[in-house]
């Protein structure tokens, strides 16, 4: 069920990425496929995340003026990095995911830009400005999309999460000053 949900989300993200910029220019700064790829990587299934990264990247590249495969390369790398971090650090908290999306976006942009420079291609857009807008836009959109996707979480995951965050029994602390008294 979880797999179907993420696959559907990825397809919708790619379709929106293809069409949204034609409606309003600022939508160019949202990287919707990246948000879903990072979400897939956060589920600790590295292989699925990497495959999603490649597919989403190539789909975006196909309708872009950049090199075919540059987005595929950067998103595959991002998916791997995020899934490795997610394996070592518990990242199911939304607040922890915000810096992860921002970091993933930064890495994605740097790798994308770097690959173009490596292959002698010039990029017209100003580097810092485009990167800053993309990180801000994608992080804000990502936070809301994760909230939305989490609301569709399957019952088992919710159950697991409840177990992980089971309310701890509070022990009463003794007053150390009193302990020394006779």
């Amino acid at each position: 069920m979880e797999q179907v949900k993420i696959t559907v989300a990825l397809v919708i993200a790619i379709l929106l990425q293809w069409t949204l910029r034609n409606i309003a220019e600022p939508f160019a700064y949202l990287d919707l496929p990246l948000i879903i790829v990072v979400y897939a990587a956060l589920q600790r299934n590295a292989i699925r995340a990497i495959i999603f990264g490649t597919i989403a990247g190539i789909a975006v590249d196909a309708l872009s003026g950049g090199l075919l495969g540059a987005n595929g390369f950067s998103k595959t790398l991002v998916a791997y990095a995020v899934s490795e971090i997610a394996r070592r650090v518990y990242l199911d908290n939304l607040l922890l995911r915000i810096p992860i999306i921002a970091g993933a976006c930064l890495l994605d942009d740097l790798v994308y830009y770097g690959m173009h420079r490596l292959l002698g291609q010039s990029i017209g857009a100003p580097l810092l400005e485009t990167m800053a807008y993309t990180i801000i836009g994608t992080t804000i959109a990502g936070t809301f999309i994760y909230l939305f996707l989490d609301s569709f979480s399957s019952q088992s995951i919710k159950q697991k999460r409840r177990e992980f965050f089971a309310p701890r029994r509070q022990t009463r602390r003794r007053n150390p000053i009193r302990l020394g008294r006779k």
């Binding site: 490649t54 590249d61 196909a62 807008y133």
Partner: protein, 285 residues
């Protein structure tokens, strides 16, 4: 993961090499994406058009009165122009001048923009089935917009002249007059172009119009590129630095026209010049 990364890298390398040729994967994905992009574009433009028409209704009455007056003036002017046109034809016939070639025009709607924030290409709803070919020029309201860089049967991708990689031969003022020749390049920003290699001793002024020369082998001569907005004057040895605002409103265009123009083929000796000796050796001459 390594296999996927390697696959992507190979795709990139292949794409970088095939820059001015047909790019097969891109073309077919574009054709598939057309079935989604077109309905979304038509729906969004219908919604926008509906609200725009409501807003513009308010000013319609005043505009109507103004237009009626304008029609009166223009009808007089049309009469005058008709006389001038007739005179022009008579004089041309007298001088036996040949009619200049005109290009067929195909109107197209922009159905998609670049899916990445790093580039600024656009996708139009006309493809090879309607006669669109690689490198055909795109214009809007008489101003040059760019050229076709990938063609699928139903759609085509266009690259804008403002992209820093694009360059075209241009002239300040009309062709046939002793004016400044140079190369216009994109600056990577939407509304900015720069003209290089114009000798510093030639007089160029702000407000002058820049046209294509047709020498680059992609665009026909006489297309309006833009208006000069700033001139940093050079000297006898240093060329001018000329900044141009494109004539076409690139950031607001919804419909464009494809000029069904194919540049004349280069002479064979031009294409084979660096390898001419090798070719001769292969042939055993």
């Amino acid at each position: 993961m390594l296999a996927l990364l390697l696959g992507n890298f190979v795709l990139m390398a292949f794409d970088a090499r095939a820059e001015n040729r047909e790019r097969v994967v891109r073309v077919w994905v574009q054709a598939a994406a057309n079935f989604i992009q077109s309905p979304v574009t038509y729906a969004s433009s219908a919604v926008t058009g509906f609200f725009t028409s409501i807003v513009s209704l308010r000013s319609a009455q005043t505009e109507n009165d103004k237009l009626k007056l304008e029609i009166q003036k223009l009808s007089v002017e049309v009469q005058k122009n008709k006389q001038i046109a007739d005179e022009n034809i008579r004089l041309k016939n007298l001088l036996e001048l040949k009619q200049q070639d005109e290009y067929d025009i195909l109107t197209a709607q922009i159905i998609g923009r670049d899916s990445s924030a790093w580039f600024d290409t656009a996708i139009i709803d006309r493809g090879s089935l309607e006669g669109v070919k690689l490198n055909m020029p795109i214009v809007v309201n008489g101003g040059l917009v760019g050229r076709v860089t990938a063609v699928s049967p139903l759609t085509a991708q266009i690259d804008l002249i403002t992209r820093d990689k694009s360059a075209l031969g241009a002239i300040v003022g009309e062709i046939g007059q002793p004016n400044a020749l140079g190369v216009v390049r994109g600056e990577g920003v939407r509304e900015g172009l720069k003209m290089d290699y114009v000798p510093g001793y030639i007089e160029v002024r702000k407000g002058d119009i820049v046209y294509t020369t047709g020498q680059g082998g992609v665009y026909p001569p006489g297309l309006r590129v833009g208006v000069i907005t700033e001139v940093r004057t050079g000297s006898a040895t240093v060329p001018h630095q000329i900044f141009i605002r494109p004539s076409a409103k690139i950031s607001a265009m919804q419909e464009v026209a494809v000029l069904l123009y194919t540049a004349p083929e280069k002479a064979k000796y031009e294409e084979a010049l660096p390898n001419a000796v090798k070719e001769d050796e292969k042939a055993g001459n």
